[in-house]
């Protein structure tokens, strides 16, 4: 191999260009796209096919029994129409927890990608928000395809199902932020397994996705208020069924709580990433 010198251009020591932190954010986000371009095949079943199967089994299979046995239980809405927007938000929530777990653990501990990024002009701000920006992008992708499938199934009560997409993105951020912040303190997946088993799975099952939360025992209902999934589920459902006007204050509260969760998550992730990188 005819290599003599390095492809290196000696620059003046005073050549110190300034760049805006937003330029770094774009590059950090681009990094996630580059990874996705190599790994997207692996995510197809989990993000797109699996939710559709759930919609079929629960919405159509079990839904038929619900509609026959209790036609008025859900305000006269067929079970599948009632379930679909909620399942969309719940599915996106689960995906966002994943996207805030393994990339963060890997970035700090496995291939230590974040440390490599921080050795460049990138700031903790760019690294943290590039990661969360990607989570929201994935939420947009999964939610859009899911919404399209729901429309295709004729499982949408109104075109309002489209509005479930931004609600799902907001819910994703409200979950991914705190999870990413927490995961930055972890060294392995041990805690994640507990989060999944005792956090995500119960939320998925008890946050009003499959049945109204007023069917939960009274003492459990306040918990739904504390955890963000119910807010996302209930808001998306109201938008999809066109019933927002019936309880405007409740739905406004959902939105405010989701926004608060998202902001807290963003700030927490930024603070934790900064602390972890600057040692």
């Amino acid at each position: 191999m005819a290599v003599s010198g390095a492809p290196y251009r000696l620059r003046s020591a005073g050549d110190l260009p300034r760049r805006s932190p937003l330029a770094g954010l774009g590059a950090a986000y681009e990094h996630m796209w580059l990874i996705y371009r190599r790994t997207w095949r692996g995510s197809i079943f989990g993000s797109f096919v699996q939710p559709v199967l759930f919609l079929l089994a629960m919405g159509v299979g079990l839904g038929t029994y619900v509609d026959t046995a209790s036609p008025d239980a859900l305000g006269g809405v067929p079970y599948i129409q009632w379930l679909a927007p909620a399942l969309l938000v719940s599915t996106v929530m689960q995906g966002s927890v994943f996207e805030a777990t393994f990339p963060v653990l890997g970035g700090f501990n496995w291939d230590r990608r974040y440390h490599g990024m921080y050795a460049t002009p990138l700031t903790p701000f760019a690294i943290a928000f590039g990661q969360l920006g990607w989570v929201v992008t994935r939420a947009l992708m999964v939610a859009s395809i899911f919404a399209f499938v729901i429309l295709l199934f004729g499982a949408a009560a109104t075109p309002g199902i489209v509005l479930a997409i931004p609600v799902a993105m907001l819910t994703a951020l409200a979950f991914a932020g705190p999870v990413a912040a927490f995961m930055s303190t972890q060294r392995d997946t041990a805690a994640f397994n507990s989060i999944w088993r005792f956090g995500v799975t119960p939320l998925f099952l008890f946050s009003g996705t499959f049945f109204p939360i007023d069917r939960l025992p009274d003492f459990l209902q306040p918990i739904a208020w504390v955890l963000p999934l119910w807010h996302g589920v209930d808001l998306a459902r109201a938008l999809a069924l066109g019933t927002v006007g019936q309880q405007p204050l409740l739905h406004l509260a959902h939105l405010v709580i989701l926004l608060a969760g998202a902001i807290v998550g963003l700030v927490a992730t930024y603070v934790m990433f900064k602390r972890k990188l600057e040692r």
């Binding site: 095949r41 692996g42 197809i44 079943f45 989990g46 096919v49 699996q50 199967l53 759930f54 079929l56 089994a57 629960m58 299979g61 079990l62 038929t64 029994y65 619900v66 046995a69 209790s70 239980a73 859900l74 079970y79 041990a190 397994n193 507990s194 088993r197 005792f198 799975t201 119960p202 099952l205 008890f206 499959f210 049945f211 069917r215 939960l216």
Partner: protein, 269 residues
């Protein structure tokens, strides 16, 4: 006797399965510190039972049971959740965990540098999956007994039946793992398991399907376990249960035979 010898030739016992117990002991050591993970496996079917069985169940009302009589939805779904938990546990243990130990933790490299043989590893891991699932089965049976979802003394046989199921699925899962090259391949497992989980008469009766489809579903592996456990727990005993048992035994032995043939490929790379 000759049948036994023939079986020994095909199955990993011939490779020295007697030390398999040592691998089970190793797994017990691991979970002595990670008991929370072990315990958490018990909560998953319980959460599903509370949510699907009682939450949605209240809106579903009664559904047709194994012999067509109407039963409350929670009674219908509880045995199916035990069956799916046995399947999921066995598959997770024999595929993801084995693959991880094989390629990342390098657990077996150390194990195989001792008198332990590949057959010990295979039987040990499958045995461990069966032991684990029997623990969950006992716990779950106690819970549904307390919730009065058990309708017959035949239900005690649900525990060995759940163990049989996890044997069958763990053997086939391990056989599948011998063909896995990367994590990407595990999507294939999900692609098989997820539809089984949702459509094997677990959450709604298979009488909802058109007759042709009913027949197809009735031949899938999870349905054998679901119907077997449901019939035992409800005390509905007939000849089809024998078919389910034979099906699961054959499935497990077939899985073991494949594992025996491909073990070296899996463990002695």
């Amino acid at each position: 006797m000759t049948a036994l010898l023939a079986a020994q030739r095909v199955l990993p016992i011939g490779l020295g399965g007697r030390r398999a117990w040592l691998l089970i002991e190793r797994n017990l050591f691991v979970y002595r510190s990670g008991w929370l993970v072990l315990l958490s496996g018990f909560f998953e079917p319980l959460f599903y039972l509370l949510s699907i069985g009682f939450g949605i169940g209240g809106m579903v009302g009664d559904v047709p049971g194994p012999n067509g009589e109407l039963i409350p939805y929670a009674v219908f779904v509880a045995p199916a959740l035990l069956a799916t938990a046995s399947m999921n546990g066995a598959i997770a243990e024999s595929t993801f965990n084995v693959f991880f130990k094989l390629n990342y933790a390098k657990t077996y490299d150390a194990v195989l540098s001792t008198p332990m043989a590949p057959g010990d590893v295979a039987l040990g891991e499958i045995g461990w999956a069966v032991i684990r699932s029997s623990l969950y089965a006992i716990g779950f049976m106690v819970v549904i007994l307390v919730m009065q979802l058990v309708q017959s003394p035949w239900a005690v046989f649900a525990i060995p039946a759940a163990m049989l199921m996890s044997f069958a699925f763990a053997a086939v899962g391990m056989a599948a793992t011998t063909f896995m090259r990367s994590w990407q391949d595990f999507d294939l497992i999900n692609i098989v398991i997820m539809p089984l989980f949702l459509f094997s008469g677990t959450f709604f009766p298979i009488t909802s399907y058109p007759p042709a489809l009913q027949l197809v579903v009735a031949l899938t592996p999870l349905y054998q376990g679901v119907d077997l456990l449901r019939s035992l727990i409800l005390g509905h005993i007939d000849a089809t249960l024998l078919f389910h048992v034979v099906y699961l035994v054959v499935m497990g032995l077939a899985g073991l035979a494949v594992v025996a043939r491909r073990l070296d490929r899996l463990l002695l790379k």
